[in-house]
Assembly symmetry: C2
Homo-oligomer: 318 residues x 2
């Protein structure tokens, strides 16, 4: 049983912006205290010595109302006095940090330096910010998504933010994954779940690092509970970020069918967009049901509908 | 010859607030480009992962007009959004950091993490802020002032800020000093100086860490240029900070004569306050001249007069 979760949880594997928005829908459908999120730490980064967990923070900020809705990340209305000053003083400050955001990173970094595990820090930040659901990083150990490019391997944020994901991706490697252990609660969240949902996040760089933690993929493959994923690829394009180009350059089909191939054996159903209805057969050839729905999360009602569809497919809605 | 200094420099060893205020007087008397400051790094600290060099920063901020004059440190009018947020999120944020100040620490920390030496970082920050004189940390290596107390040894900022220098000091140790090397320019600044001045800083914890860097004390002892110190103890009290109590608890006389004993063999003259005129004989028994003056730096004119007195005693004023 997971601390704070009194019945079998509904467990969601989620990345950043897309995952967080999907979770907003999930807690419109389910009591938040039933929901456990296993979050991605592969894109964690230490700009200027501060430990930033962008995906965890996006979930934190989105579900506590602090998020900058337009950007999809960061704190709404945040100032950037510190970062502007750093720039004036010659810092190569390509990773944006608002002042309130820095406050969170100061708190996290201090706790990590004291030896507190990331999962404990995250739980405290979540409690202080009033996060209604339980958020657990996939691992407390160092795991970093490294992106292979024609010019060599770079860390994820260099690829994503600094190079604006313009490099051709020739490979993805999860540095430290072999030695990483699931954070406390992760095994229970997957093993004991009443249902598992994979949010519409990038399967390679948002969900991939979670599945790369030894044991998690195997637990998912051996699951007794139903598992449903939502395709982040609609009409051959990612709604956000570089997923489609990345899939293609790594030899996957940049479509819902390509997503199905990646999740083969791990999920029982894939929710695909109504634009991709003709791919249902291709999806089902990977051993999962295709559930056709409107997957564009344009507003709260659409997020709720999508969440309900996915949860329903996973048998998690009464 | 030191970069940016075209004639034999006047070299000042300085700590934080008292040293910085004294330097304001120095550059009213001498062209700033003749002045090289060797600064203290023994009280450097890494709150929340940020590298803070309080004494260097106080010199930087004081001589570029950014200083909060009332506090004597930090940036005038600075906000503290990040720190307040960190506190709301449960951080044990006992070391005050303003937002603009954090900007400087972000820039410094990033550069240090890239492998840049502290002296190079400091030079760049100084150039960006428009520091009129040259500021060199005593060492680029890690050197930390550790304070012995009846409850055990603590780092300097824990003693000074967190415990508000209320502990009885039973010992002082400069961790890392044995392996520290003078930063580039420090040896030249002391060896080739036309005159050397030790600012009215705490001899044990502001000047002590500078002299603890192997080679610096010996260079000072073997100097050909005159060296003059200014006593920070007036009438048996420190104008700021715990110098008097610290001197006493470590077996030194908490007076200008006690300061003279500490600097014996290193200085040719000690500037003492007019309140302490009767100590002139006791000072001179330590092999140095006593120069009696008004040493209270109550305003710019007083700072200039004190600087002129010290520089004149060192033969550095035409």
């Amino acid at each position: 049983m997971i601390r704070g979760v009194t019945e079998r949880p509904v467990t969601v594997l989620a990345g950043g912006v897309g995952g967080a928005r999907f979770l907003q829908g999930v807690i419109d459908v389910l009591p938040p205290e039933r929901v456990v999120v296993v979050g991605n730490v592969g894109d964690d980064v230490e700009p200027h010595g501060l430990h930033v967990s962008p995906d965890l923070d996006t979930v934190l900020y989105t579900l506590t109302g602090w998020i900058d809705e337009d950007k999809g990340w960061g704190v709404r209305g945040d100032s950037d006095r510190a970062l502007e000053r750093a720039r004036e003083l010659g810092a190569d400050a390509w990773f944006w940090l608002g002042d309130l955001d820095i406050g969170l990173h100061l708190a996290r970094t201090e706790a990590l330096r004291r030896g507190e595990p990331l999962s404990a820090v995250t739980a405290r930040l979540a409690e202080r910010l009033g996060l209604p659901l339980r958020l657990i990083p996939a691992t407390d150990d160092r795991l970093r998504t490294m992106i292979g490019t024609p010019e060599g391997e770079i860390d994820f944020q260099t690829y994503y933010v600094r190079h604006r994901h313009a490099d051709r991706v020739t490979g993805i490697r999860f540095e430290g994954a072999e030695l990483a252990r699931p954070a406390p609660g992760v095994v229970e969240a997957v093993r004991d779940a009443a249902a598992i949902v994979i949010a519409p996040s990038n399967p390679l760089i948002s969900i991939g690092p979670i599945l790369a933690v030894p044991g998690i993929r195997a637990l998912l493959a051996a699951r007794s509970a139903p598992c449903v994923a939502v395709s982040p690829i609609v009409g051959g394009r990612a709604l956000r970020g570089p997923a489609a180009a990345m899939l293609e350059s790594l030899g996957h089909e940049p479509s819902a069918a390509g997503v199905a191939a990646i999740y083969a054996g791990l999920v029982d159903a894939l929710v695909i967009d109504q634009q991709d209805a003709e791919l249902a057969g291709a999806v089902e050839r990977h051993g999962m049901r295709a559930v056709v729905a409107d997957t564009i999360m344009r507003d709260a009602a659409a997020r709720e509908r999508l969440a309900r569809t996915a949860l329903d497919a996973a048998g998690a809605v009464a």
